[in-house]
Symmetry: C2
Subunit: 203 residues, 2 copies
């Protein structure tokens, strides 16, 4: 029987996508589930809900709580955490580079490193120099990757992925979607998504 | 050493307060934590955030997801669930009656029954006849309870509790607040709140 699959939808500006990214590999492995990393942009989805900023900035009490919650969660998971100076950070460049990397086999490492740079090291991931620095440790040619990331093919792919997320009624990140179309939202639903994927893999 | 305490802030209109209420007794007991039930009104807090309705009604995708998530959660917990015909339902009367009951010793039973009536049986909890029916199985005089619930003392108490929730920067329900002021939001943070309360009880 083939392994069940879940789609892991994330946006690089999403805070809870950091612990989800750090946890999903080991948990999915243990559950025998394959994960497809699906970077997308929340911006257009938030705009359609009437937001031109992160709801964590629009709703101050919720935002303050989120940072504290994230700090506690990361401590519990044993993950380094440092609140970044800027939030949210534009994830467009990182998302395009991630799509190149997912085609070329180093995407998942890159994605983990971007989240760590942003939420553990306080680096600015919309700075091309930071992205270039992260790429320098990966099996790729950074200059070629930047060219590919700005190609029409990759730009169109990211747009198509964002539209696909909207079609699936993804409204936040991280989100997990099982093969039978069940949507789970939030780092705290990762385990439930994996359990669901295993339960229904015969369908 | 005295038992650690957490405050359990809930609003009868809050969907995730239903599984939290159903779960908190056994989990707190197992953890050796005492729970203070603190009914309050989210309405004034939502108004201050610019909402005149539940965010689950304002943001359609989030609302649709919430109902599905709640259904899955209840199935996992072995809790009956039925989506009520009306949402949100005004919890004012139930909250006032709950405050009477919490003084008189039958409050926690009443609170559980109100949530079950609303989210497992599809009953309308803003209907005084429904509240009277729930009271009929409890050790109280329903007529006297209704009189007390409409007294200035209880009305003031509910207002004061709502103001206290705002002071604690509670922005949603259910919320759990530990003795050292740590805020945990959501049914899915109940276990973390209990763990925190135990860890810091010596402080």
């Amino acid at each position: 029987m083939s392994r069940p699959v879940i789609d892991f939808w994330f946006d690089f500006a999403s805070t809870y996508s950091y612990p989800a990214t750090a946890r999903i590999g080991a948990l999915a492995n243990a559950a025998g589930v394959s994960v497809r990393f699906r970077p997308f942009l929340l911006g257009p989805i938030f705009k359609a809900q009437g937001w031109d900023n992160s709801p964590f900035n629009i709703y101050e009490a919720k935002g303050r709580y989120m940072w504290r919650d994230l700090e506690r969660l990361c401590a519990g998971y044993g993950l380094a955490f440092r609140k970044p100076a800027a939030f949210p950070q534009a994830g467009l460049l990182a998302a395009r580079v991630a799509l190149v990397g997912l085609k070329d086999g180093w995407g998942e490492s890159f994605i983990s490193q971007v989240f760590r740079a942003q939420f553990a090291e306080g680096r600015l991931i919309n700075d091309p120099a930071v992205i270039r620095d992260l790429l320098s440790g990966l099996p790729c040619n950074p200059r070629q990757v930047f060219d590919q990331a700005q190609s029409d093919e990759i730009k169109s792919l990211l747009r198509a992925e964002t539209e696909e997320a909207q079609r699936l009624v993804v409204f936040g990140a991280p989100s997990f979607v099982t093969a039978d179309g069940e949507l789970f939202w939030g780092n705290d639903r990762l385990e439930a998504a994996l359990t669901w994927a295993c339960k229904t893999k015969g369908i």
